[in-house]
């Protein structure tokens, strides 16, 4: 057999015992030593299951029916055990927090060695070395609460590297990181690959971000089958991505809008390799033809913060002199790195905390004296994970909960619940148990349960986190519908696509201060804002620069306007 093959799937199928259909269906795939592979696919495509098969969680932790053959380093995985496999395949999971089992970074890195009975003195040496590989050697004593998401991910990486595994598997490494940290993570993985020559497998649905650095092959999976196995340039030029619910890079979309036929000889796999010579004229013509839109918000103010400052301990300000004025029916995003004060801001708005200085006005009225319960009738908060809110087994009861707690007569409740369910497209399910719903539907239930209270303003914390393109579009289009009912929407987010496409206005926080209150297209093209807030420059901006179009922010805005008109049609 070929020495260079490290992983080989042959007619491999897997079906969970709890599922009616196989999740992986006749997979044939070879991965060679030292390759860097990206596996993409929408939610439920089977890409995570494929990862579980590699690291041994299947069949050793998740049981099911396994057919065909999967060999790693020439041996069948089913004849191994999870511990032997973990010596060959090191896995970095997506939840940077929950996978951190140690109380300090050093301890977490040492975890695998502890389980191998490595003597303490030797262990400390090896931990130092592994930590140095990911530049964490000075933070070995830090607890998970002191580390950022990116740092926790590096700790996890050091924790698997310490065993000198051949294969590194990253399961959605970008899911919990802000844009700049995600970009850094892809860079670290790339440098590691270049230095160590290890085989690297990245599972991700955010294709453009994962392609920030070079990838040898992209495997596209859908419905448990391999749809494509191509280099990035070929894949990006093919129609397969959009057909299978993966968002193509934004710059590719822009090229297509401009009528350019994207072919693999333009090397469109990465923005850094893209050749735009042939597309320059078409792009300029397209861009110049987009009429400039003037948007004025003539509507009255609905929510206003005036010189608001806040601190938890009275010493360190978490929010410092925040001023903004949101008008009725706006859709605004609040962005900034972790710890910038975004969630504290929403806590102040909901009344969970009280501002130390300054004032918050709802339609011109200071709401300082309003209780949490009273504010909820004006401002509704939807938390990131629907499981943080759902506390009733039945959909109808969950949506009615807020009304019942307010002792509203039952006859009125029925009507309001029906209305909220209707808006959220949940009427067909109203008598269902919540456990039968998908994640996106659960999200809708939580939104419905807040809408039942008829708030004028809706705050959503990362509404699309962890969602693939189809679910993302579904949730966001649904929010647009709600927005049309004159509900003002405030989104707290890391997602730059979301910002660009759905919120005309972005409020950017950094270190408790407001560093920008502008259009999303301006925020994502201003290098000062990008750097301070840990954002990432949008590839549309890079495209405009590459093709010599002046005024990148206007180009980006043009793209958004064009796309919106396309959708409205």
């Amino acid at each position: 057999m070929d020495e260079r093959v490290v992983i080989e799937f042959q007619d491999f199928s897997f079906q969970y015992f709890s599922q009616a259909e196989p999740t992986l269906n006749r997979i044939n795939l070879k991965i060679y030593r030292g390759e860097k592979i990206l596996i993409v696919g929408p939610s439920g495509s089977g890409k995570s299951t494929l990862g579980h098969c590699l690291n041994g969680l299947i069949p050793f932790a998740y049981k099911g029916d396994m057919r065909g053959s999967l060999k790693i380093n020439g041996v069948e995985t089913r004849e191994q055990n999870i511990f032997k496999l973990s010596k060959m395949v090191g896995t970095v999971l997506q939840d940077t927090d929950a996978q951190f089992v140690g109380l300090t970074a050093g301890e977490d890195i040492a975890f695998a060695l502890e389980n191998d009975n490595v003597p303490t003195a030797e262990m400390r040496e090896r931990v130092k070395k592994a930590a140095a590989m990911v530049d964490m050697q000075n933070l070995l004593g830090s607890s998970p609460f002191e580390l950022s998401g990116g740092q926790k991910q590096r700790v996890s990486l050091a924790g698997v590297m310490i065993d000198d595994v051949d294969i590194l598997l990253f399961d959605e490494p970008l899911a919990n990181l802000d844009p700049a940290t995600g970009k850094a993570a892809i860079e670290i993985i790339d440098e590691l690959h270049k230095k160590s020559q290890k085989t690297i497998i990245i599972i991700e649905h955010r294709l453009e971000d994962a392609l920030h650095r070079g990838i040898d092959r992209v495997i596209l999976i859908n419905d448990g089958r391999i749809i494509a196995d191509k280099n990035p340039h070929d894949l990006v030029s093919s129609p397969l991505l959009t057909e299978n619910g993966i968002r193509e890079p934004l710059y590719v979309t822009a090229l297509k809008y401009a009528g350019v036929k994207v072919a693999s000889d333009m090397r469109p796999g990465h923005i850094a390799t893209l050749q735009v010579d042939r597309a320059r004229e078409a792009l300029a013509a397209w861009y110049n033809a987009i009429p400039l839109e003037r948007r004025e918000y003539a509507k009255p103010s609905v929510l206003k913060m005036e010189n608001v400052s806040f601190s938890y301990d009275g010493l360190r300000p978490v929010l410092n002199d925040i001023n903004f004025d949101i008008r009725e029916g706006e859709m605004v995003s609040i962005v900034g790195r972790n710890g910038a004060g975004k969630s504290t801001l929403s806590k102040l708005l909901c009344g969970f905390e009280k501002e130390d200085r300054g004032a918050i006005f709802y339609k011109g009225e200071n709401i300082r004296e309003k209780s949490i319960k009273e504010r909820a009738e004006i401002i509704g908060l939807v938390m990131q994970n629907p499981n943080q809110m759902i506390s009733k087994p039945m959909i109808r009861d969950e949506v009615a909960l807020g009304l019942r707690l307010r002792n509203i007569p039952e006859e009125q409740i029925t009507g309001r619940v029906e209305k909220a369910l209707n808006i959220c497209g949940l009427s067909p399910f109203k008598d269902w148990p919540i456990s039968a719903l998908s994640f996106g539907q659960k999200k809708r239930v939580t939104i419905a349960s807040i809408l039942a209270l008829e708030p004028k303003i809706l705050i959503l914390d990362e509404p699309t986190a962890g969602q693939d393109f189809r679910h993302y579009t579904e949730i966001m289009e649904f929010l647009v519908e709600i927005n049309k009912l004159d509900v003002t929407i405030i989104l707290i987010t890391h997602d730059m696509h979301l910002m660009l496409e759905y919120t005309p206005r972005a409020i950017v926080l950094s270190g408790g201060r407001m560093i920008a209150d502008t259009t999303a297209s301006m925020a994502l093209t201003d290098s000062r804002v990008i750097e301070e807030a840990n954002l990432k420059e949008t590839s549309l901006f890079q495209l405009s620069r590459l093709s010599g179009i002046e005024g990148g922010a206007r180009f980006v805005q043009g793209f958004i306007d064009y796309e919106r008109r396309l959708k409205a049609r």
């Binding site: 109380l103 040492a110 943080q388 909960l401």
Partner: protein, 279 residues
């Protein structure tokens, strides 16, 4: 982080007490607890109490950190004293073999000097153990605590479970806090305005989401642990375990001496566990 979060959490500082190995602290804690529990001699108990308070100062533990704990214990000890008086008001008389009445109470209860002396002794007994418990909890890194448990013979899986609980406890607290706020916004009343039965029912509205979130988390954690070889072998080593230094031997010796001292006083001075000032 508010002060509540710090309630049971390990306090990082660099003091001679922090530098001791977790195993040393565990053994010292057990020895000293035994010593105080064994002796009913108030002189010995006072001596140990002064020692324990001195160590408490040495470990730089602030009163604000332990106030809540002290209050809980105080309530418990006082309740205990009252209840034990009503159940066996003659305990002191029985132990010391004499009777000095102070006053006759209702229902045939008599307050005696013996009973008062006995209960005061008991009160200080409890109160001299508490500083040791606090010192141990607040100066021992939880993983070091787990590794010490393992080294005195507790199964490592059970020992690790202790460390893991302490690792995720603050996460759970934060989660609880967030859920509770979100549910309050939906109209949940947690304050004293609500009736007790309602408050109980309402707290379920927070606990149910918390349980489901924890189950999600448990799956991730157990996968993460499996993937890095937890429970592969019958034994494991610990990154946090420390080699014994001179200070460890000194601490062990001091604790052992105190223990032997109390036993000596009981056997050769008092000829029993009780010190009897009434003869």
């Amino acid at each position: 982080m508010n002060a509540k979060m710090k309630l049971f959490s390990y306090n990082t500082a660099d003091t001679p007490v922090h530098r001791l190995s977790g195993l040393t602290k565990l053994i010292c804690f057990l020895l000293l607890t035994f010593a105080v529990m064994f002796s009913y001699d108030i002189r010995v108990i006072f001596a140990v109490m002064i020692f324990s308070v001195a160590i408490l100062r040495l470990s730089q533990i602030r009163f604000s950190q332990i106030r809540a704990m002290i209050v809980y214990v105080l309530v418990f000890v006082v309740a205990n004293a009252i209840i034990s008086f009503f159940f066996s008001p003659e305990e002191g008389v029985k132990i010391y073999g004499s009777r000095h009445n102070i006053v006759n109470l209702y229902g045939g209860y008599k307050l005696t000097w013996e009973q008062i002396f006995y209960q005061i002794t008991k009160f200080f007994k409890y109160f001299s153990v508490i500083p040791f418990g606090i010192i141990f909890l607040l100066t021992t890194n939880p993983s070091e605590f787990a590794s010490s448990l393992n080294r005195i013979g507790v199964n490592y899986k059970a020992a690790f479970a202790v460390a893991l609980t302490l690792r995720y406890f603050p996460d759970m607290q934060r989660e609880y806090h967030d859920i509770s706020q979100a549910q309050q916004a939906r109209g949940l009343e947690l304050s004293h305005k609500a009736k007790f039965a309602d408050r109980f029912k309402n707290s379920l509205l927070i606990l149910i989401p918390l349980i489901f979130l924890s189950l999600e988390r448990v799956e991730t954690i157990s996968n993460a642990m499996d993937l890095r070889g937890f429970s592969k072998n019958d034994t494991r080593t610990w990154y946090t375990s420390r080699k014994f230094a001179r200070a460890d031997y000194v601490a062990l010796a001091v604790s052992a001496l105190i223990t032997i001292g109390t036993v000596y006083v009981s056997v050769f001075v008092n000829h029993g566990r009780f010190y009897n000032p009434f003869v």
